[in-house]
Amino acid sequence: MLSKSSYLIFIISGVIGISFWIGFNVNLLPTEASINAPIYDELFKILFIIGLILFIGMSLLVVYSLFKFRKRKGQIGDGIALEGNLKLEIIWTVIPSIIVLVVGLYSYNIYDRMGGMNELNHDHSLMGNNSEKIWAGISQSNNNLGLIDTNIEVSAMQFAFLFNYPKGDFISGELHVPVNKEISVKMESKDVIHAFWIPEFRIKQDIIPGQPTVLNFTPTKVGKYPIICAELCGPYHGGMRASIIVEEQSDYEDWFNQNKKDELIA
């Protein structure tokens, strides 16, 4: 027979092992198609594993006590008159605090790597309204002045997205972007609040009337992904979708040149 504590160690390591196994082998997320995605998935994995350990652990405890300490036939009387235990209380205050703190710092790190802490600058010198206040968003890098490869303006309205390419002076219903280039979109709404969400990129930002927001991102995988409006905006909210088409630089340029307004003053 094993001793009590070795049983305990066995079970705890079992729970941790299973959680790690699930965390590493069960993929609940869609394709990773931007620089942000693998960073996000790293955080997800950690949170998933910690969550599983806690959840499985707690459930086992509840089910085990329910079974082990059930009242048998003919048993009378009460359980032990145990009213508390300071040492235990301290343990289960301190351990969750540490977990929460570490997770918080770690997700700060993730957020920083995703560009959340960068200044919200967005180069729109071409449009001549560079001074406009940007209220919120995620800015991937600080090198805003002209170094961002593609600037696009998104305007959202009930119930569509329009993509304005200032460099080519044209508007498209589909968002075309080159792969592996940093893209910056500045978003404004014409009526109610919408949101700009690309699940494969793991980014989202509300599009707020009267408060322009930005999102910077770098797609890493050629393909067609949905752009989804994630904020209730009226009856057709569910149908408010568009596509982002990530293509090789040359394909993108072809598309761009086809669409751009011909030089008016040649």
């Binding site: 949170l47 359980g79 145990l82 235990l88 793991r202 927001t213 009856p235 569910g238």
Partner: protein
């Protein structure tokens, strides 16, 4: 002090109808009011559940085919509003609070019986008003959060009715909160110390503090919103220079604490139920009290975690991440203490106990997804998706509703003097537990993979998982049948329960079942150790 109210009560009771009819009267008896809250809330739950069923039926196919799109939005708005403001909040606070708190503090009624009755009678009319708005000109369709400018630009009559009824319900909630605070702090039986009160009193004290501090802010906000709608002001209307994000801050300043208003009383109820059926004292009474107060304080400063993707600057996002995640600590203390309460007990496995254990498991799951949501980078992807829907149903349904059912099984013998049937109860539990997990667990995956919430149509790739979820909802709907049968059969010819079928020590069990009008025939007992199990027994 107590007697002052007794006299009033005796006078009023005489003119009041007796028997079944008293539940339809403007009664001042806290027990009658408690039952009124419960039954009224349950009827609204059936309405809200019917609306939920409509949602789930619509979502069995990726097209919007079961109802028009704007009706879908009305249905989900009504579903959210009814479930929160007419079911969970009135029941965990109003129903159980009114029934139990006077017993627990050794009083014969609440501090302000008249205010109490007024608070209850505000509920049915505002609820009915809300529901009828659907049939007249269409109900509100901006979601239960009513974010402007959508709420300003959608058809206005429905939105105005929505605002009115939420204002009335908020008023009812504030009156209730004032009453609970006064009853707990001022009406205690002489000799009864605060630290001797059953845990539910502490939970209600914390909840009522939240109600009093945060509900008025919602009221003010909704008044401003209604100005925007009817008087054409521009508080939240960007066209007129307003700021839509200010609404969100004000709204969540109420509505985040509101989630603790929905769950703290449930925590209290579980703290009453577990020790009795486990035959053990509540583990760590003091830390339980501190953790409630910790949740109250933290709960007031975390609201912006609902706004991580709106117009919030980075520093704000970070502050609210840390503050939110820290709520896991006091909440965790409570859960560990409950498990420790079970540990080494002599647990009777019955419906009340099963629902409570189901609550612990479901809530831990929902809480953990909550802590994940609190992390800004995590939330940015899943905000406003089915992941969030799954998170909060794990908490409001798997948490609060499970506790409500547990409490009904637990206190039914007190209220009626009859026992509920255990077989039907366990069937009810099994159906609910399975249906619930089947319905909401898959929604996490939906959210992570790209299904936004509040949509009537979705990407066809999600159809199968949505159908599983709808199947779960069907199970939940079916699970109400054994429950209702059980209630009706047992009220009529259930087994006699006796005064104290569970051998409990809390004061409400130390009187007859059902209790007499003024709670005790003689003087109120002084219960200084509500959880004194195992102290005076022969082992085994």
């Amino acid at each position: 002090m107590t007697i002052l109210i007794d006299k009033k009560n005796q006078v009023t009771e005489k003119i009041q109808p007796k028997g079944f009819l008293r539940y339809f009267s403007f009664s001042l008896d806290h027990k009658v009011i408690g039952i009124q809250y419960l039954v009224c809330g349950f009827l609204f739950y059936l309405v809200g559940g019917t609306l939920a069923s409509a949602i789930r039926i619509e979502l069995t196919s990726p097209m919007s085919d079961f109802m028009p799109r704007d009706v879908y939005n009305q249905v989900l708005t009504l579903h959210g509003t009814i479930m929160i403001f007419l079911w969970i909040v009135p029941v965990v606070n109003g129903a159980f609070g009114n029934y139990l708190i006077p017993f627990y503090v050794g009083a014969r009624d609440m501090a302000f019986p008249r205010l109490n009755a007024v608070a209850f009678w505000l509920i049915p009319p505002s609820g009915l008003m809300l529901i009828t708005s659907y049939f007249i000109d269409g109900a509100a369709q901006a979601g239960w959060t009513a974010y402007p400018p959508l709420s300003i630009t959608t058809p206005q009559s429905g939105q105005i009715v929505w605002i009115l009824s939420v204002l009335l319900l908020g008023g009812s909630s504030i009156f209730g909160g004032i009453n609970f605070i006064a009853t707990i702090l001022k009406l205690r039986r002489p000799g009864l110390k605060l630290m001797q009160l059953p845990m539910y009193c502490w939970a209600m004290l914390g909840t009522s503090i939240l109600v009093v501090l945060s509900t008025p802010v919602l009221a003010g906000t909704l008044i401003l919103l209604s100005f925007d709608i009817v008087a054409n002001t521009g508080f939240f209307n960007p066209v007129l220079g307003g700021n839509v994000v200010v609404y969100q801050h004000l709204f969540w300043f109420y509505s985040h604490p509101a989630v603790y208003i929905m769950v703290l009383p449930a925590f209290g109820l579980v703290s009453e139920i577990l020790p009795i059926h486990c035959r053990k004292p509540l583990f760590g009474y003091k830390t339980m009290v501190f953790s409630i107060m910790g949740i109250v304080v933290l709960g007031l400063v975390v609201w912006a975690h609902h706004m991580f993707t709106s117009g919030t600057p980075p520093w704000m996002r970070l502050f609210f991440t840390i503050a939110t995640a820290f709520i896991a600590v006091p909440t965790g203390i409570k859960f560990f203490n409950w498990v420790a309460t079970m540990w080494g007990g002599k647990i009777s496995i019955n419906s009340a106990m099963l629902f409570s254990c189901g609550f612990i498991i479901n809530f831990v799951f929902g809480g953990i997804t909550g802590v994940a949501l609190a992390q800004v980078p995590f939330d940015i992807h899943v905000h406003d998706t089915y992941f969030v829907v799954a998170h909060f149903h794990y908490i409001v349904y798997g948490g609060s509703v499970f506790v409500i059912f547990s409490s009904i099984y637990h206190w039914f013998p007190k209220v009626t003097g009859k026992l509920l049937d255990e077989k039907l109860g366990i069937l009810h539990f099994a159906l609910t537990f399975i249906g619930f997990n089947l319905c909401f667990a898959p929604q996490h995956w939906l959210g992570l993979n790209g299904m936004p919430r509040r949509v009537a149509e979705y990407d066809p790739q999600f159809q199968f998982v949505n159908q599983i979820s709808s199947l779960g909802a069907l199970f939940m709907a079916i699970s109400t049948i054994p429950f209702l049968i059980n209630i009706f059969l047992s009220v009529k010819n259930g087994k006699k329960a006796g005064d104290n079928p569970w051998g409990a020590l809390t004061p409400e069990w130390l009187t007859s079942s059902p209790p007499p009008v003024e709670n005790w025939k003689g003087e109120a007992p002084l219960v200084t150790e509500p959880y004194g199990y195992g102290i005076d027994t022969t082992d085994n």
